[in-house]
C-alpha cells in the first residue's frame, strides 16, 4: 500500500457515510465504536459475549433478489471492520420519542419495557423481524427473540408488542423509497482497493477474492493472525480474553465462499454462508436439521455465524458438526497450493486441534442427499431450549434393510474432546432391529468417557446419550417423533 492513503472502513448510518478513523484499533467492536467513539449510547452492553442481546443492532445489505436483507446482530462481538460496505441501523435511528416507529409504539402500548436496559435490543430484533416480513405467530417471534434476554417482564408483553407491531405495519411506500435510496448509497461504498485497515494496534484485512486472500495471508504472520468469519466466537477472544493479534483477516467479504449451491449429489455450502442463509436448504434436506439450526445460538448469532467458522473453530460442542458427520458430509479445505477434501469427522484430531494447515481455510461443506431407507434424527440437550450450548448432542443416521440396521452413523457432541462417532455402538447396532438397541446402548459406555462440567455431569451425559439411542428406536417403532416441541411448538405425542 506504500504511502498511499488507504481507503478507510466505511459504512452507512442515518443515510450518511461513516468513515472509521485510521487510528481505531482493528479489534474495536462495533458496540464500542458506537458507544465510546461516536457516543451513541442507545445500544447497551449487557454481556459483551453475544448472549443477552442488549446491543442488538441491524445490518442492512443487498439481498439476492435486488432488495434489502436486514440482519440483527450483536454489536458487542462484531468488529467495526466487518461493517465495511454495509448499512447500520440502531435503535436511535428508527424513531424518536415524539415519532415512534411502530415497533417502538407497540412496546410502549403493551408495557413491554420495565427497566428498559434490554429494550433497545428487543426493538431492533423486532424491527428486523418486521422488515424481513416474517410471520406474527408466537413461534416465529420467539425465533427472532431467542437471543434477547429480559429479566423484568417475563416476555408476555414483548411478544404482544411484536404482534401489534406486525399488525400495524409500516408505510410500505416509504420503506420502498428508503430501501431504493439505501441501495444506491451502498453502491457508493464499493471500494477500489482491498480493505486493509492498519495502525500501531494491528491490521484488519477483508479480501474479496482469493488473490486478495493469498496476498493477505502472505504478508501476515501465521502465528499472530486470526482468520475471522462471523466473529461470534472470535469476538469473545477480544472482549473476554483481551487478546490482540497483529492481524485479522476477515473472510466474510470473500464472495466465492458464500452461498448454497445444489449439486448432482446434494448441496454444496460455502464456508462463509451464515447459518441463517444455510438454514432453509438444510431444513429442506431433513426437518431435524432445520430444528437444530433454529436452536443454534440465537438469530443474531446465526445471522453472523458461519458454517465454516463453526467447523474451523474445532470446538467439541459446536452443534452443526455431529449432525453433519452423521449425515455424511465432506469438507473441503483450500490454500494457494490447491484444495483437498475429507470426510468431516477426519477434520477433528483432538481437543481444539484440527487438520487445518496454517495457510489453509475451510472452503465448503458438501452435503449429500439422504440415502433411501435411511432414518435420521438429531437431538440437542441443554439446560435451556433456546440459545444454549449443548450438554449432549446426538445425531443418528441409520439405513435399514428388511427391518434390520444395515449401516449406522452415530455422532455425538459433548461426549469427547471432539465431535465423534460412536464406533462400538455403531458396530453393535448393525444387524439389529429396533428392539435390539440395548447392546448398542451398552457399547456407548465403551465409546465415551465424558466429563463433568457446568453444563452436565459425566453420569448425565452418558445416560442421556444412551437414552437418546433408545428414543431414536422408540420413534422408529412409533413411526413418529416423540418430542416436547415439534415444528409448530406442540407436543407430538
Amino acid at each position: 500500500m506504500g504511502n498511499m492513503r488507504a481507503e478507510p472502513i466505511r459504512f452507512l448510518s442515518r443515510g450518511e457515510i461513516v468513515e472509521v478513523d485510521a487510528a481505531v484499533a482493528p479489534t474495536t467492536t462495533l458496540l464500542d465504536y458506537l458507544r465510546v467513539t461516536l457516543r451513541r449510547t442507545g445500544s447497551k452492553e449487557g454481556c459483551a459475549e453475544g448472549d443477552c442481546g442488549a446491543c442488538t443492532m441491524v445490518v442492512a445489505q443487498p439481498d439476492a433478489k435486488g432488495g434489502v436483507q436486514y440482519s440483527a446482530v450483536n454489536g458487542c462481538i462484531q468488529l467495526v471492520g466487518q461493517m465495511d460496505g454495509k448499512a447500520l441501523i440502531t435503535v436511535e435511528d428508527i424513531g424518536s420519542e415524539t415519532a415512534l416507529h411502530p415497533v417502538q409504539q407497540a412496546m410502549v402500548d403493551c408495557h413491554g419495557s420495565q427497566c428498559g436496559f434490554c429494550t433497545p435490543g428487543f426493538v431492533m430484533s423486532l424491527f428486523a423481524h418486521q422488515r424481513n416480513g416474517e410471520p406474527a405467530d408466537t413461534d416465529a417471534l420467539c425465533d427472532s427473540l431467542a437471543g434477547n434476554l429480559c429479566r423484568c417482564t417475563g416476555y408476555r408483553p414483548i411478544l404482544q408488542a411484536g404482534q401489534q407491531a406486525l399488525a400495524s405495519g409500516e408505510d410500505a411506500g416509504a420503506v420502498a423509497d428508503w430501501e431504493a435510496d439505501l441501495l444506491v448509497k451502498l453502491k457508493g461504498l464499493d471500494r477500489k482497493a482491498p480493505l486493509k485497515h492498519a495502525n500501531a494496534a494491528g491490521a484488519f484485512y477483508a479480501p474479496r477474492d482469493y488473490a486478495e486472500l493469498w496476498a493477505a495471508l502472505a504478508e501476515t504472520d501465521p502465528a499472530d493472525r486470526w482468520l475471522l468469519a462471523g466473529g461470534t466466537d472470535v469476538g469473545l477472544w477480544i472482549t473476554k480474553q483481551h487478546r490482540k493479534p497483529a492481524a485479522i483477516i476477515h473472510l466474510g467479504q470473500l464472495t466465492a465462499l458464500h452461498g448454497v449451491r445444489s449439486t448432482a449429489d446434494g448441496l454444496s455450502i460455502g464456508a462463509m454462508t451464515s447459518f441463517t442463509d444455510a438454514l432453509p436448504a438444510l431444513a429442506a434436506l431433513h426437518p431435524d436439521l432445520g430444528l437444530l439450526l433454529r436452536r443454534l445460538g440465537s438469530r443474531q448469532v446465526r445471522n453472523a455465524g458461519t458454517l465454516g467458522g463453526n467447523i474451523a473453530n474445532g470446538s467439541p460442542i459446536g452443534d452443526s458438526m455431529p449432525a453433519l458427520i452423521a449425515w455424511g458430509a465432506t469438507l473441503t479445505l483450500l490454500s494457494a497450493r490447491g484444495e483437498r477434501s475429507m470426510p468431516l469427522e477426519d477434520f477433528f484430531i483432538a481437543y481444539r486441534k484440527t487438520a487445518l494447515a496454517p495457510d489453509e481455510i475451510v472452503a465448503r461443506v458438501d452435503v449429500p442427499i439422504a440415502a433411501p431407507n435411511s432414518r435420521f434424527a438429531v437431538y440437542k440437550l441443554s439446560k435451556r431450549f433456546d440459545q444454549d450450548i449443548s450438554a449432549v448432542l446426538g445425531a443418528f443416521n441409520v439405513s435399514v434393510k428388511d427391518g434390520r440396521v444395515a449401516e449406522a452413523r452415530l455422532a455425538f457432541g459433548g461426549m469427547a474432546g471432539i465431535p465423534q462417532r460412536a464406533a462400538k455402538a455403531e458396530a453393535a447396532l448393525v444387524g439389529q432391529d429396533w428392539d435390539g438397541v440395548e447392546p448398542a446402548v451398552a457399547a456407548l459406555a465403551e465409546d465415551f468417557s465424558p466429563l463433568d462440567d457446568m453444563r452436565a455431569s459425566a453420569a448425565y451425559r452418558l445416560l442421556a446419550a444412551q437414552n437418546l439411542l433408545r428414543k431414536f428406536a422408540a420413534e422408529a417403532k412409533a413411526g413418529k417423533p416423540i418430542r416436547l416441541f415439534d415444528g409448530a411448538g406442540e407436543a407430538a405425542e
Partner: protein
C-alpha cells in the same frame, strides 16, 4: 374509592425513552472531561493469605494513572452494611475466589482491565470451606443460629399417625440485572464527592463512601435516576464500586468510572442464598400437619452482609400458607469461602416457602391424595387456626376464596383428569400439574427501616417536581408515586416532573427493597402533597369565595360546586401571597414490632396473597421439559397501576420459575463459579414463557390495612408463584411412578435433575415390584 389517576393502567414514565434508547443509564451519561476508568484485580483462589501485592507492572502500562490496595483506603475500608466484614479490597485475607484485591484506574477501560491482570499478588493458599453441610458440622456461622417455636413439634410428630423425613437442596440465583454494577464519581469542592451510582440504596452508598473517605456523610452526594434492573442485587452490592470510584476521584482529582464486565459482576458480587433443608413432619390421614420440624441452612458465604435478615425471612415464611399447630423452625447462617450472598427478590421468603410446599407434595404422594387437597386441608383459617409460628395473628387472609377462584378458572380438577388420561397412554412424555399458594409478609423485619421521606416542589407556573427516597429499577415506582401526587393535587401525571433519587433532596432513606417502595414512598409523597394541597386550599378558598371543605382538586382545576379556578392560577396566587410551595413528607409504618429473643411479635403490617397453577411436560428419556400453561391470580389490594402490577406479577413468576428450574450456579471443586455469564448461566427466554399464560389480579379486595390508596406491595410476593412450576415438574416425575412413589427433586430442576429423579422413581418402582413378587 373514586380516583382519577391512581388505580389506572398508565404507562411507565420512561417507556418512550426506553424504546428509543434515549433513557440514560450511568454508562450513557456524558463523561466529565478526563474521566478515568477502573479495573479490578481479582483473587484466583478461594481462600488464602495475601503475602504481597506488587502494583509496579500495572502502573508501568501506558495509560494507567493510579492503583491501590486496601492499605491506600483513607478511611475505614469495611463497607459492610450491618455487621462488619466486607473490606472494599481484600484486607490480608482472600475469602472467596474472585474477591477484588487491588484496583486500577486508566485513561481507557481496556487498559485498566489489562493492567489489573498485571498486578502481581503472592498468596499463601489455605484450604477453602465450600460446602454448606461442612459449615454446619464445623459450626461456621456468619450469624448466630435462631430458633422459632410454637407448640411442641417433637411430641406432635411422634404422636402423629404418619411421619415423613427428608432433605432438600435449593440452589442460589444470580440477579442478572441487564445493566451491571456501575458507579461514576466526580470530585467536588472541599474534598466532597458526587457519585452517580446504579443502586437501590443511595443513602447507604452515601454513608459507606463517606466511611471509606473518612468524611462526614454530608460530603457525599449520591444520585440514581434509574437502574437497568436491581432485584436486590444493587442494595448492598453497589457500594463497593462507588467507594472505589470515589477513592480514586479524590486521589487523582479526576472523575472516575467503575463499570464491571459481566463475568466480573457475576463472580464478585453476591447472589440469592442457596439453602440446605432438613424436615421432619407428622400428619393425619387427611394430610393435616400435626407437628413440623424444619431446619433452614442458608449459605451466607464469606461474610454476614444481609444474611441474618434473609434467613430470618426464610424462617418467617416456612409456614408458607399453612397453620402449623406445633412447629420448630431453625435458621442457620453458614459461613463458606464463597462470595457473600445478599438480597434477592423474596429475601429468603422463597427459600422458606418452597421446602414446605415440597413437603406438602410429599405428604400427598404418601397418602395418594391430590396435593391440592392436602394444601386446602392445611390452609390457615380465618377465625381459628390463624396464628403464625411467630405469634402474629393472620387477620387479612383471603386465600380460601382466592384458591377457590383459581381452582375454578384454571379448571384444575378437570385438567387433572385429562392429564392422568394423557399419562396413562403416553409412555415417554409425562405431564404434571401443581397449584401453589403465596402468602408474603410485608414490611422490613428490621422495624426502623420502615420509614420514608419525600420532597415535593411546586413552581410558580404550577409545574410540580417530585422527589423521594425510592429508586427506579424498572418496577414503575416513580410512576406510581407520581400518580399518588397527581391524584392528591388533582393533576395529570405528566404535570408531575419525576426526578432522580438524590441523597441531597431526601436524607437517611431506606433501600428500595422488601417490596416496600410504593407503600413507604407513596405515603411519604402523599403526606407532602397533602401539606401543599392544604396550603393551596386556603388560597383557592379565597379565590372562589368558598369554604375550604367544599374544594375539590381534580383535572387541573380547583372547584367548589360549579365554580372553579385553574390549579396553576391558584399556585401563582399562592406565590404572590408568599405561601410556601415546597413541602417534605414523611411516613413510618405503624404498629410493627418483633422481639428476636422470644421470636414473636407483629413483624408484618399486612400480607400479600396469590396463587398459581402450572402445567409441565417432561421427556423421560432426557429430563427435558417445557411449561405448557400457567394461570396466575395475585392480590395487589387496590392496585395503584394494574398494568405495572401485572408486569411485576408476570416477571416475578418467570424469574421464580427460572430460579427453580434452569438457572444453575455451578462451582467447581476449587470454589470457582463456572457459570458466570449468560453463555453458561441460563435465565428464561421468550420461549420459556408458558404459551398459554393467563394472569389476573384479585378484584374488589382493597387492603384492609391503611396503605397508600389501599394498595398492596407487589415486587416480591409473585416471585413465589414460580414454585408451582417446580412442583409441576415434580408431579410429572411422580407420574412415572403412578403418583405412588416419593420424588426427590432438588432445585434448580435442570433436565439432568429431572432425568435423575425419573430414574430414581423407576428404581423404586422396580424394587417395589420385586418386593411384591416375594
Amino acid at each position: 374509592m373514586n380516583t382519577h389517576v391512581v388505580a389506572k393502567s398508565l404507562k411507565h414514565d420512561s417507556a418512550p425513552k426506553h424504546v428509543c434508547g434515549s433513557a440514560r443509564y450511568i454508562d450513557d451519561l456524558p463523561e466529565p472531561e478526563g474521566c478515568l476508568h477502573g479495573g479490578l484485580t481479582m483473587a484466583p483462589i478461594a481462600h488464602g493469605r495475601i503475602k504481597s501485592i506488587d502494583l509496579s507492572a500495572a502502573l508501568a502500562l501506558p495509560g494507567v494513572v493510579d492503583a491501590i490496595t486496601v492499605a491506600d483506603v483513607p478511611g475505614d475500608p469495611d463497607i459492610a452494611p450491618v455487621f462488619p466484614g466486607d473490606p472494599v479490597l481484600a484486607d490480608g485475607l482472600v475469602q472467596f475466589h474472585g474477591q477484588p484485591v487491588a484496583a486500577i484506574v486508566a485513561r481507557d477501560l481496556h487498559v485498566a482491565r489489562a493492567a489489573a491482570r498485571l498486578v502481581k499478588v503472592e498468596y499463601e493458599e489455605l484450604p477453602p470451606l465450600l460446602d454448606i453441610r461442612e459449615a454446619m458440622e464445623r459450626e461456621q456461622w456468619v450469624g448466630d443460629p435462631h430458633v422459632m417455636t410454637h407448640g411442641d413439634a417433637a411430641s406432635a410428630i411422634a404422636a402423629a399417625p404418619h411421619r415423613l423425613q427428608g432433605e432438600i437442596e435449593l440452589g442460589g440465583q444470580d440477579h442478572f440485572y441487564l445493566e451491571g454494577q456501575i458507579s461514576m464519581a466526580q470530585p467536588m469542592e472541599d474534598g466532597d464527592v458526587f457519585v452517580w451510582c446504579s443502586t437501590q440504596h443511595p443513602s447507604e452508598v452515601q454513608k459507606l463512601v463517606a466511611r471509606v473517605l473518612a468524611r462526614p456523610i454530608h460530603a457525599v452526594t449520591v444520585e440514581c435516576r434509574r437502574m437497568g434492573g436491581g432485584f436486590g442485587g444493587k442494595e448492598t452490592q453497589a457500594a463497593q464500586f462507588a467507594a472505589l470510584a470515589a477513592i480514586f476521584a479524590l486521589r487523582t482529582g479526576k472523575p472516575v468510572k467503575f463499570r464491571l464486565d459481566r463475568d466480573e459482576d457475576m463472580i464478585a458480587t453476591g447472589k440469592r442464598h442457596d439453602f440446605y433443608i432438613r424436615y421432619d413432619v407428622g400428619f393425619d390421614a387427611q394430610g393435616r400437619i400435626q407437628g413440623y420440624d424444619i431446619l433452614l441452612a442458608g449459605r451466607g458465604g464469606c461474610s454476614a452482609d444481609l444474611t441474618n435478615a434473609v434467613v430470618d425471612r426464610a424462617m418467617f415464611h416456612a409456614d408458607s400458607s399453612y397453620y402449623l399447630p406445633n412447629v420448630k423452625i431453625t435458621g442457620l447462617r453458614c459461613r463458606t469461602n464463597t462470595v457473600s450472598n445478599t438480597a434477592f427478590r423474596g429475601f429468603g421468603g422463597p427459600q422458606g416457602m418452597a421446602p414446605t410446599e415440597y413437603v406438602i407434595d410429599e405428604i400427598a404422594r404418601y397418602l395418594k391424595h391430590d396435593p391440592l387437597d392436602v394444601r386446602l386441608a392445611n390452609l390457615y383459617g380465618i377465625d381459628e387456626r390463624n396464628i403464625t409460628p411467630y405469634g402474629q395473628v393472620l387477620d387479612d387472609n383471603i386465600l380460601h376464596e382466592l384458591l377457590a377462584d383459581l381452582e375454578k378458572t384454571s379448571e384444575y380438577r378437570s385438567r387433572r383428569q385429562e392429564i392422568d388420561a394423557f399419562n396413562a397412554q403416553s409412555p415417554y412424555l409425562k405431564k404434571g400439574l401443581a397449584l401453589t399458594p403465596v402468602k408474603f409478609g410485608i414490611s422490613f423485619t428490621t422495624a426502623f427501616l420502615n420509614q420514608a421521606g419525600a420532597l415535593v416542589l411546586i413552581y410558580e407556573d404550577g409545574s410540580v417536581q417530585l422527589n423521594h427516597g425510592g429508586t427506579e429499577m424498572g418496577q414503575g415506582l416513580y410512576m406510581k408515586v407520581a400518580q399518588v401526587v397527581a391524584e392528591v393535587l388533582g393533576l395529570a401525571p405528566e404535570d408531575i416532573r419525576i426526578t432522580a433519587t438524590r441523597t441531597d433532596k431526601v436524607p437517611n432513606t431506606s433501600a428500595t427493597a422488601a417490596s416496600s417502595g410504593a407503600d413507604l414512598n407513596g405515603k411519604a409523597a402523599e403526606n407532602a402533597a397533602l401539606t401543599l394541597r392544604d396550603r393551596l386550599a386556603g388560597v383557592a378558598a379565597h379565590m372562589l369565595h368558598a369554604p375550604v371543605e367544599s374544594l375539590v382538586f381534580a383535572n387541573g382545576q380547583v372547584s367548589a360546586g360549579d365554580k372553579s379556578v385553574a390549579f396553576k392560577d391558584v399556585v401563582h396566587h399562592a406565590y404572590l401571597q408568599r405561601v410556601q410551595l415546597s413541602a417534605t413528607g414523611f411516613y413510618a409504618t405503624p404498629g410493627i414490632h418483633y422481639d428476636r429473643k422470644t421470636a414473636s411479635g407483629k413483624p408484618f403490617y399486612y400480607f400479600a396473597y396469590g396463587a398459581a397453577v402450572t402445567e409441565a411436560l417432561i421427556d423421560t428419556f432426557t429430563g427435558e421439559y417445557r411449561f405448557t400453561r400457567a394461570d396466575l391470580l395475585h392480590d395487589c389490594g387496590t392496585s395503584l397501576n394494574p398494568a405495572i402490577d401485572r408486569g411485576q406479577v408476570e416477571g416475578a413468576y418467570i424469574q421464580g420459575l427460572g430460579w427453580l428450574t434452569m438457572e444453575e450456579l455451578w462451582w467447581d471443586a476449587k470454589g470457582r463459579l463456572r457459570t458466570h455469564a449468560p453463555s453458561t448461566y441460563k435465565i428464561p427466554t421468550a420461549r420459556d414463557m408458558p404459551p398459554d399464560f393467563r394472569v389476573a389480579l384479585v378484584h374488589g379486595r382493597p387492603n384492609p390495612a391503611a396503605t397508600i390508596f389501599r394498595s398492596k406491595a407487589v415486587g416480591e410476593p409473585p416471585f413465589m408463584l414460580g414454585i408451582s412450576a417446580w412442583l409441576a415438574l415434580k408431579d410429572a416425575v411422580a407420574a412415572v411412578g403412578a403418583h405412588e412413589m416419593p420424588v426427590r427433586l432438588d432445585a434448580p430442576a435442570t433436565p439432568e435433575r429431572v432425568l435423575m429423579a425419573v430414574e430414581d422413581v423407576k428404581r423404586r418402582m422396580a424394587a417395589s415390584t420385586a418386593l411384591a413378587a416375594k
